[in-house]
Amino acid sequence: MRMRAKRIVLGVAGVLVLIAAVPLVYSQEYFLHLCIMAMISAIVAVGLSLVSGYTGQMSLGHAGLYAVGAYTSALLTTRFGVSFWGAVPAVLVVSALAGVVIGAPSIRLKAGYLTISTVAFGEIVHQTARNWDKVTKGPTGIGAIPSPELFGLEVMTLRAWYYFAFVFLLIAVWISARIVNSHIGRALRAIREHEPAAQVMGINSSYYKVLVFVVSAVFAGMAGALYAHFITFIAPDNFTLNESIGFLVMTVVGGIGAISGAVFGAFVVTIIPEYLRAFGDIRLVLYGLILVLFVLFMPKGLVPFIAEHVRRWTRRATRSQASRDTAPRR
């Protein structure tokens, strides 16, 4: 067990060093831009994966929560001159409230209804952003969103943003890992395996389900704020059902319920369509086909698929090693 923990820590550290080294080795601007977008999306996907992995419900409204975070931060910084760091607490509180508002009523409804009411929520946010001209400037959107400052320096360059987003992603992953391994995670697993039994054991299932939904809402809101400050311009059409679908696709492609899966899925889903651009008009057709092929042939997602194959491969290697060792000598 100790061995295993040590190996995991080593593996994680290795991956971290590798990711941190990317901009030093390969600093093509467009590629870095994509990586930053993937990291920001990964923050949403990690939270979403907690919801789908542990409550068995899917959310198709996370673009709405993403928009709530983005607009809160953008309005506070452009209208009221608040700094990025001043806006962060507001973003966290507002997105948590939004999470309670959709999470609390819908999680208690019959299975699958969370998906449906989240679609409604996402669309209400989108339509409000489009039509509430006085505050959101309607379809024209909000521009000139300032860059965040860190130790007196502005986070402006792509490299700086790469590390900036990376740190936020790390925090999100760390919080999720803590939740999964805490009493909350255990309660959620108990609920997932057998809800009535969990309730009999004194677990308040509604409370835990809403709690994990609120956590994912906060992640989405924070990611939205990062997005707003990174792109420096937001408009309502950046936050439609298609974006919500994109976030869900990330978690499913990577492997639902696994934090690493969500991160991996975010990178795959952000980067693949861009590299399909070489195919011109049919790139979206290919993208759709890839999605279908993914769920057909890797139903558990990319990360479990790879893990399974690596495990099988190493087992076969050790077995053949063992058979060679025990082979009778002439």
Binding site: N131, I282, P299
Partner: protein
Amino acid sequence: MGAFFIEQVIQGICLGSLYSLVAVGLVMIYQAVSVFNFAHADLVALGGIAAFVAYRSGVTAFVLTGLCAFAACFVTGMLVERVAFRPLLRAPGQNYLIATIGIGIVLRNLMRIIFSADVFAFPSVFGSDPLIVGSVLIVPDNIAILLVTTIAVVALHLFFKKTLLGKSMRAVAQDREAAQVMGINVNRSISWTYGLSAGLAGLAGLLVAPVFYVSAEMGGPLRMKAFIAFILAGADSIWGAIIGGCIIGITEALAVGFISSRFKDVILFFLMTLFLVWKPGGLLSRRNGA
């Protein structure tokens, strides 16, 4: 004022019956496989495009263009079910859902490539002279919409009640395993469900073409409305979908006429949220509250 109100209500019922037509297809698929079909709106567009192509190549009789739209979607629906969805029948729900999203993207973009990304006007089959009843004006397109949806719904009802295939589809919708034990060919039933549901979407595409114009994206506005109708129906009641569609159409028309066209979608989603809390089982369920 009175006449305007009645006009808006009639307009609402006609639009609403279009939403119903799309929502009924969604409900049929939900009953059979418990998944919301995200590719459904793209089948509406396919129907519109098929009707347009047929019309342009000389098939101008309304019934024949309708048949073309229906047939194109029917075949596509069955094909897609066989190739992409059938292997996922026992997979987790989210995988099936993603597959419908993927198929939707494929269909939409194939149509955009083959048919071109432009928007085409579709001539109204019944002319544009409004019918005047008392002081109320009725657009002839609306009469066509009402007529076709009524015929489609009655035909569907008879199909479900009278034919063996329709009965087997209802059995599969109620309990797939029990139906299989009773010797019903489940795969065939689901395949037909997809075909018919897509065919209805095709008819909706034909009817909506003169209103929204023909393009690969024309299903978009209908998707959300049909989605709300689907929720109002509680996801699994065909009559609920029909009534739900009409409620949405009327609400929309009245909101446009008397409040503001800009917030009509917000009003609709608010209505939907109210329904989710008040009648989570759908319009026709007996259960109130959560």
